[in-house]
Symmetry: C2
Subunit: 125 residues, 2 copies
């Protein structure tokens, strides 16, 4: 039987508190605010469980290990800050990308990633 533990609660809570995709290490850091001795293996194990249950979905950005975010949000894309490496959810979508699709190809989905500096890193600089 599956048990409720403070580690699992903490990890779920982290994803509920922080409104951006998180990598395992970010989850670990945040999670330790709630459960001091939290271990990285538990983070990975819990993330995998939450992925299987569909509560989380992976967010893959070019050239980086996956981050994860709560499922259920509507179609959106991401902005990655070059300075702090945090990834933010952005709303909106360039829209019709079929015109970019080569003739004879079938478009199924798309990813858009913006890069730049986030507000915090701009003002802190």
């Amino acid at each position: 039987m599956e048990r409720n533990t403070k580690q699992r609660d903490a990890i779920r809570q982290v994803f509920e508190e922080v409104p951006r995709p998180l990598g395992p290490n970010e989850v670990l850091e945040e999670g330790r605010r709630h459960v001091a001795g939290l271990g990285i293996a538990t983070v990975y194990r819990t993330i995998n469980t939450l992925l299987e249950s569909g509560w989380l979905i992976p967010v893959e950005l070019p050239g980086e290990p996956p981050r994860y975010e709560r499922s259920g949000a509507e179609h959106h894309h991401h902005f990655r800050c070059r300075v702090c490496a945090r990834v933010f959810e952005i709303h909106g979508c360039p829209g019709d990308l079929r015109e970019l699709t080569p003739t004879g190809f079938q478009l199924e989905r798309h990813e858009v990633t913006l890069y730049g500096q986030c507000e915090r890193c701009l003002t802190t600089a």
Copy 2:
């Protein structure tokens, strides 16, 4: 001093013949058409040299090791076939993405990746 070898010629030729971003293993396979015993280490070494010289640039797609393509092409994006995993260059660009950028953030660049099926995989199926 840097020498001309048939291996290096072959690898450069592969990038000139094939009009899409290639990963090291694709380069190896194609390169072996020209130099039978070509080794993967040589492919990596040569790619790194070509990157340093600016002749190649990396193409990173979400969740995958880098591919490489010849530098100098104008701004463009990529289409990845879900079936054969090949990546194609696409022309055009959704254009102004500033409106997607969160207030206070500074947009520097963007990546767009389309996913679907390429013509070959659609017609072969």
